[in-house]
């Protein structure tokens, strides 16, 4: 079975402060990890994925297979980063590519 855990339901920081949204996963095969974001009144959209190794809107995430983690980081938070963030996993050796999501973390960036 595959599982994704986001321990923080809410994370509140001030503008300009560093941000780290935690994500831990459990999966016996080869995982592909994603971060999806949902801004207020908008649809769920991909922020970044492990395989791309990109930095999107200043966010990065590193897959740590030893700790089974895929934490999302940004050195200086902006007010427009306030949103709901979901970590998700897809099994590369699973047919179908369905996503298993964590419970989500609401990020609030205060001015």
């Amino acid at each position: 079975a595959q599982r994704v855990t986001q321990p923080e339901k809410l994370l509140s920081v001030f503008k300009g402060a560093p941000v780290e949204l935690k994500c831990n996963y459990s999966y016996s095969g080869s995982p592909e990890l994603f971060w999806y974001v949902q801004y207020s009144r908008q649809r769920l959209q991909l922020l970044l994925r492990h395989i791309s190794r990109e930095s999107i809107k200043g966010f990065t995430a590193d897959l740590n297979k030893g700790e089974t983690s895929f934490h999302l980081k940004k050195p200086f938070a902006q007010e427009e980063d306030s949103a709901m963030y979901y970590c998700a996993l897809s099994g590369l050796d699973n047919a179908g590519n369905m996503l298993t999501f964590g419970g989500g973390t609401r990020l609030m960036v205060k001015p």
């Binding site: 769920l44 991909l46 994925r49 099994g91 047919a95 590519n97 369905m98 419970g103 989500g104």
Partner: protein, 115 residues
């Protein structure tokens, strides 16, 4: 081009009634997914289609739930004899294929309220 669309955007129904939710995927995407977003369960996978076939129906919560896809395009999720616990946002996503490399693109969702 147009993204994934879903209709209706909101649906209020009475307990015991049947409802149909529609999803129009991105043109050319062969894979289509249904998820449910509810307060108690978070985001959970329901069913996926590769073309018109649904190889994995294990995520459907009960036999009151069914889905079909025709012409490799539009999909309909049907909930029979709705219950209050079916109240949730139903999300549809599509991707070019089903390999682990593919990104899923989500629709805006249908918010279902069962009274």
């Amino acid at each position: 081009g147009a993204g994934v669309s879903q209709s209706p955007s909101n649906k209020v129904t009475e307990k015991g009634k049947d409802v149909e939710l529609r999803c129009d995927p991105i043109s050319g995407h062969t894979a289509l997914y249904w998820y449910r977003q509810s307060l108690g369960q978070g985001l959970e996978f329901l069913i996926y289609f590769q073309g018109n076939s649904a190889p994995d129906k294990s995520g459907l919560p009960s036999d009151r739930f069914s889905a079909e896809r025709t012409g490799g395009s539009v999909s309909t999720l049907t909930i029979q004899r709705t219950q209050q616990e079916d109240s949730a946002v139903y999300l549809c996503a599509s991707s070019p294929g089903t390999s682990g490399q593919e990104t899923q693109y989500f629709g805006p969702g249908t918010r279902l309220l069962v009274l």
